[in-house]
């Protein structure tokens, strides 16, 4: 006897699996690296990345400053050819009495250092990432690119090595990120995403083309 065909009906089991999988898809949907475009620059945020934690936070709460070096690289769609690079060197300290963070972004020949204080840990992290803008001059709006964000702590010597040139050397920064972190130092995996300028959410009121 021929079994009745189920045709295109969706079984109860499929509905159950789909129901269970839905929250997982929503987690996957949250990009580790969020990018906004103001018409001139790309602005990053990484809601799942926290770097004022663990051993660096212990050192901060012991009253010592902690230096971080961050690098943003924009590659072509081949994921190999770097097109743009941006970097930031941040020194964070924690005010013992006020229990707030103080962050300085070290300057370069062209840009002076700037500081902000009285921040919570989350606000300090956001401030650092927000300071890492990548210029979009010369980029095709409809072409695909890969954006990579890397972050590491640096000791005083490493920071000095990176800044001993009048102009910050990208070669040194790349070498720095290719080194293994010292024992006990946290390691954050690079965050990456594929993007197209025309797909990015626009930041209102910013940029020449915004």
């Amino acid at each position: 006897m021929e079994q009745p065909s189920r045709g295109n009906r969706i079984s109860r089991r499929s509905w159950l699996l789909a129901g269970l999988a839905t929250p997982l898809f929503s987690v996957r949907a949250a990009e580790p690296l969020e990018v906004k475009y103001d018409g001139d620059n790309l602005h990053l945020s990484a809601p799942t990345l926290h770097f004022l934690i663990g051993k660096p936070l212990e050192r901060l709460k012991d009253g010592a400053p902690v230096a971080y070096v961050a690098q943003v690289t924009l590659f072509g769609d081949d994921h190999v050819t770097p097109i743009k690079r941006g970097q930031g060197r941040f020194v964070v300290s924690f005010a013992l009495w006020e229990e707030k963070f103080f962050v300085t972004q070290l300057g370069t020949q062209a840009v002076p250092s700037r500081s902000v204080e009285g921040l919570t840990a989350a606000a300090a992290e956001v401030w650092c990432l927000d300071s890492l803008a990548v210029s979009t001059v010369g980029l095709e709006p409809n072409a695909y690119y890969w954006l990579r964000f890397e972050l590491r702590t640096a000791d005083q010597k490493e920071l000095a090595n990176l800044t001993e040139q009048p102009v910050v050397s990208f070669r040194r920064i790349v070498e720095f990120f290719s080194q293994r972190p010292k024992a006990g130092e946290p390691r954050w995996e690079p965050l990456e995403r594929r993007l197209r300028l025309s797909d990015l959410p626009r930041m209102a009121g910013r940029g020449r083309n915004g």
């Binding site: 009253g63 013992l96 009495w97 009048p166």
Partner: protein, 429 residues
């Protein structure tokens, strides 16, 4: 012109590179620089000091610099520098510093934590000396330290300290892990072969019964405990089991077993002088008693008392040192335990075999020394004799160069007739 331009470019580049740091010094980037330091603590394994006590744990100069942080705004660059110096001074694995809120608002407490090295090995030369009369003397040791235990193996060939030239080996085990830092135990073993000067052998033959025979070899086992009575006063108590192997007139062994006690006091005083130059005074006083009795199965029965007072005043590059020593032995002490003068410590410049070829059982000595930087000049005076004999005071003067433990000196005995100086060079502790 080309080179001048190049020099300008290089110096300009360096200045610019410097200016990058000039504005971004570690201390400038630390928000805690706004707080005032009100307490400094240094802590290690089982000890802790807030610098108010006169503990010997930290050298006077470093203690002064640590204490100078109090009352000033925080500077983490200075803390890093002091941590590096503490690490060096304690041979520590790591010295870290951290800040804590103090009881007073806007004030902080700085705590340095000294983490001792897990274990290390080091080789040291404890004596290396050339004397134009006695030739070369040298001693060295290799030490292994694991936590609170240390093991030391040494080699020596010393023709300077005693009447004999002794060559041999030594081993020492020391432990401080007795649950208190007030007591440590030490076990020492030594084995030496002896070489004798003709003058000494002739003197022994001429005065039989005054001391031991010229033994061929000597072994010593010496367990001791050092107890810190009240810092900086320490007491060392132990026993020495010494065996002397004689060859003449027939092969036999003698024992010289003794109770050994040393009381030692060491104090360092610092003060700022009128001209703000720092002065430092060191006082080191000690008394040693060795009592050999039949109770310990000793073939020699004697009691030896020895005391010494060492004073040093340092003011800038100037140093003044005075060293007073004296000793009395009652009974019949073996040759190794008799006093010796005319070596690199007492009556420098004299030949020890001319003064007393068998050593003496009485010693009085004073040495005055002045040093300016590496240059030294000294005057030694004293006497060595046996009880019942007339006392003949001797004098000597000398000049030399001394940098740390390295020394080159020429010493002249002061006596009528010809002058026969002795040259001494090497590492003298």
């Amino acid at each position: 012109m080309k080179y001048a331009l190049l020099a300008c470019l290089i110096s300009g580049g360096m200045l610019f590179a410097g200016s990058l740091f000039g504005g971004t010094q570690d201390s400038d980037l630390n928000v805690n620089k706004r707080y005032t330091v009100d307490t400094v603590i240094v802590a290690g394994k089982g000890w802790r000091t807030d610098l108010t006590d006169q503990s010997d744990k930290i050298s006077a100069g470093l203690r002064r610099e640590l204490a100078a942080l109090i009352g000033l705004k925080l500077n983490t660059g200075v803390l890093d520098d002091l941590a590096a110096r503490l690490k060096k001074e304690f041979s520590a694995r790591e010295v870290s510093h951290h800040l804590l809120r103090s009881d007073t608002p806007q004030h902080v407490r700085v705590e340095f934590e000294v983490r001792p090295s897990r274990g290390n090995m080091d080789a040291t030369v404890t004596k290396f000396l050339y004397s134009s009369k006695e030739g070369w003397s040298g001693a060295g040791a290799v030490g292994f330290t694991i936590h609170q235990n240390s093991l030391l193996f040494g080699l020596a060939s010393d023709g300077d300290s005693l009447m004999e030239r002794n060559a041999g080996i030594s081993a020492r085990y020391e432990t401080k892990s007795l649950g208190t830092d007030r007591v440590n135990l030490k076990f020492q073993f030594e084995s030496y072969h002896e070489l004798w000067n003709r003058n000494t052998l002739d003197a022994i033959e001429a005065h039989p019964g005054l001391t031991s025979d010229a033994y061929r070899s000597r072994q010593n086992f010496q367990p001791t405990a050092t107890i810190t009575l009240a810092k900086p006063l320490t007491l060392e108590v132990g026993a020495s089991f010494e065996r002397l192997e004689n060859q003449y007139p027939a092969a036999h062994n003698d024992a010289a077993n003794a109770l050994v006690t040393t009381l030692r006091y060491h104090r360092r005083l610092d003060q700022a002088g009128m001209d703000q130059a720092d002065s430092q005074q060191d006082i080191d006083a000690g008394y040693t008693l060795r009592a050999a009795t039949r109770m310990f199965g000793s073939d020699f029965v004697y009691v030896s008392h020895f005391w010494g007072l060492h004073y040093r005043l340092t003011h800038g590059k100037h140093q003044f040192l005075d060293d007073v020593s004296g000793g009395v032995i009652s009974g019949r002490a073996p040759l190794f335990d008799r006093f010796v003068a005319g070596n690199s410590y007492y009556l420098r410049g004299w030949n020890k075999y001319d003064l007393d070829p068998m050593g003496g059982n009485r010693l009085v000595h004073n040495s005055v020394e002045y040093r300016y930087g590496p240059f030294q000049a000294f005057y030694d005076t004293g006497a060595i004799w046996d009880s019942g004999q007339p006392v003949s005071q001797k004098h000597s003067v000398g000049v030399g160069i001394k940098e740390s433990i390295f020394s080159l000196a020429i010493a002249f005995p002061i006596r009528a007739g010809h002058v026969e100086p002795i040259l001494m060079m090497g590492m003298i502790y």
